[in-house]
């Protein structure tokens, strides 16, 4: 009866499951951190980190992955922002098909996608593996496809929250052309959505293994796997570094979105 009276009272099971979840979250991270600091017998130290940061292949992988991530973000924004804008404005009936297409990379296993990509583009007539530059183009295309579900959804949600049609009509009535509407009105209002999609895109590319591994490009993912096969403590340190990166990108997003939230609130209250 007590349970019926006040369902919101914290029950034993609530606390139990909550604590279990927290343990599941934190124990592996704590374990990794602890392990990564124990490279030297008997003392806690940053030796494993020092080794990684002194490894030129780490920096090569890091630089390569960051470069790829940035290009991926630019390409994907260049494809999705105008496309989704057009969809909202002119062909809203295209939404269902767009949604299905963009969810596909979630549904098709990554390894299959890469398998298909590699087999299609590694021989004529569409061969793209003849030079590293062309291979990198293939990499970017693959990354764009893999991160498509996130980018599409982020921009889509952003567009939905602003009244695209009215904004466009207002700008056009003031004499703007298409390009200016997009650049001056739509994109500034979508900043946060694009940033959100970009950061998830970034995290995805930084952690991606399959494409780079099979196309034999020097990204961070393959480097990590190789390190894992031969070393004990460095991989743990690398995992911590990688988590920090993810953490940092998502934290950045949180920061920006809560700031814009606050700004909105200020506008309302003043």
């Amino acid at each position: 009866m007590d349970e019926i009276m006040s369902r919101k009272r914290t029950s034993f099971f609530t606390i139990f499951w909550g604590i279990l979840a927290l343990l599941y979250f934190f124990l592996p991270i704590y374990g990794t951190l602890d392990f990564s600091l124990r490279m030297e017998r008997g003392i806690l130290g940053f030796k494993a980190y020092k080794i990684i940061f002194a490894d030129p292949r780490f920096w090569e992988g890091f630089r390569y992955s960051v470069t790829m991530a940035v290009i991926t973000i630019i390409v994907s924004a260049a494809i999705f922002v105008p496309t989704i804008y057009w969809m909202y404005l002119k062909v809203p009936q295209a939404r269902p098909i767009m949604e299905i297409i963009t969810i596909l990379p979630f549904v098709i296993p990554g390894i299959i996608l890469v398998f298909g990509l590699i087999r299609t583009f590694s021989r004529p007539p569409l061969q793209l593996t003849t030079s590293t530059f062309k291979t990198d183009i293939l990499m970017i295309a693959g990354y764009v496809i893999i991160s498509m579900p996130y980018m599409f959804r982020a921009v889509d949600v952003g567009m939905r929250s602003i009244d695209v049609r009215t904004l466009t009509e207002a700008a056009q009535s003031l004499g703007s052309n298409w390009f200016h509407v997009l650049a001056d009105v739509i994109i500034p209002n979508l900043r946060l959505a694009i940033l959100g999609g970009s950061l998830i895109c970034f995290a995805t590319v930084m952690g991606e293994l399959i494409l780079a591994d099979f196309l034999v490009r020097p990204a961070l993912g393959p480097y990590m796997v190789r390190l894992g096969l031969t070393k004990a403590y460095e991989p743990a340190a690398l995992a911590i570094i990688s988590y920090s990166l993810t953490w940092f990108s998502l934290g950045l997003l949180q920061f920006f979105s809560s700031r814009s939230e606050r700004q909105k609130q200020q506008v309302i209250t003043t």
């Binding site: 009866m1 019926i4 009276m5 006040s6």
Partner: protein
């Protein structure tokens, strides 16, 4: 014949008190409204009757049986929620029949009763629709049928009409009253709309800040408010604090202006402060020569309210409203103009608090 009895009900949430010393008896078949502003504790009181909240102290008795500690699913009390709360995954028929299904009634019996309830609310045709296929008003009818299907001993409605638009609200109001009278079911109806309470109820409980201000039938509540709060909340009474000048003759004054009061000021002393109330419809522009209760005023504002025109005016330093019927022959004063208004000394009420 006492049916429902609430005695010395207290409810506090942590440090804040939601309901304080609430006492009420409701007769079999009576329609009682709880009327009061937002946050005054109407819902909390109702939920204690339904069993969703446990009173901090006090008792709820139904038909002589103490319900205070009976869990809500054993009370046989029907409830209708402001947000309809129809189960979205069930059809109209399944919703209405749910309580019977829980009670373990046979399929035929449920079917029969559901049909009966649907014809009572005149929605037979909607038998197998889902809630999303119904308008708000229809959903609320179904919710009413669902609450009534279990043949509860008591029907509770928490602002059932406030999510609906004005026209539907009016229709459904009549409907609720019709069904209630037909079934003769004891009903408690929570609202913050005075018109609803006045037009529906046998009795009204006016509440403020967790306490009962006044209990009475609509006529008493409207015409003889006992407290300044009731006067302000029910209708839009003008109230002003006045000083007793002559208790015997029934004269008091505010802002240096004398007022004659027909009911007198018995029991008051000279110099004592009293609260005076005058209904806006009791004021008139001065037409014939009169001596008592003639006031000089400045017109502040004029609002058309359909059949009524509301004139806001300043008498002394106090603002009053005057309502007059909107006749084509009506000559309206200019805003900022000086006029003379009057009211009968019988129209001046003296409030208790």
């Amino acid at each position: 014949m006492t049916h429902l009895e609430l005695t010395h009900i207290h409810k506090s949430f942590g440090a804040s008190v939601a309901v304080e010393d609430f006492n009420l008896t409701v007769k079999q078949g009576e329609f009682v409204s709880f009327l009061g502003p937002s946050g005054c504790g109407k819902t909390t009181t109702l939920r204690m009757v339904a069993g969703f909240e446990l009173p901090t102290s006090g008792n709820v008795t139904l038909n002589g049986k103490d319900l205070t500690y009976v869990p809500p699913n054993k009370r046989n009390v029907g409830m209708v929620f402001q947000s309809y709360a129809l189960f979205p995954n069930m059809t109209v028929a399944q919703n209405v029949g749910y309580g019977l299904k829980i009670a373990g009634k046979s399929k035929n019996e449920i079917e029969e009763r559901v049909r009966e309830m649907l014809s009572l609310i005149q929605m037979d045709k909607f038998y197998s629709r889902y809630p999303y296929q119904l308008s708000g008003g229809q959903q609320q009818r179904v919710a009413l049928a669902r609450a009534l299907a279990i043949q509860p001993e008591l029907l509770l409605l928490d602002e059932p009409l406030s999510a609906l638009d004005a026209k539907i609200r009016f229709e459904l109001r009549q409907e609720i009253r019709r069904i209630q009278q037909k079934l003769g079911i004891t009903t408690i109806y929570v609202t913050h709309d005075q018109e609803e309470a006045l037009s529906l109820s046998d009795r009204i409980v006016v509440m403020s800040q967790g306490k009962i201000e006044q209990v009475g039938n609509p006529f008493e509540i409207y015409n003889f408010p006992q407290t300044r709060f009731v006067a302000k909340f029910v209708g839009s009474l003008n109230t002003v604090t006045a000083t007793v000048v002559d208790p015997a003759k029934g004269i008091a004054s505010f802002d240096g202006i004398n007022l004659e009061i027909a009911q007198g000021l018995n029991g008051k002393n000279k110099g004592e402060e009293v609260t005076i109330a005058i209904r806006p419809e009791r004021f008139n522009f001065l037409a014939e020569q009169r001596k008592e209760n003639v006031f000089d005023c400045t017109i502040e504002n004029i609002t058309f309210l359909g059949s009524v025109v509301r004139v806001q005016m300043k008498i002394g330093n106090s603002i009053f409203n005057m309502d007059t019927f909107n006749r084509p022959s009506l000559k309206l004063p200019n805003i900022g103009g000086k006029e003379q208004v009057t009211c009968s000394n019988k129209a001046v009420l003296v409030l208790a608090g």
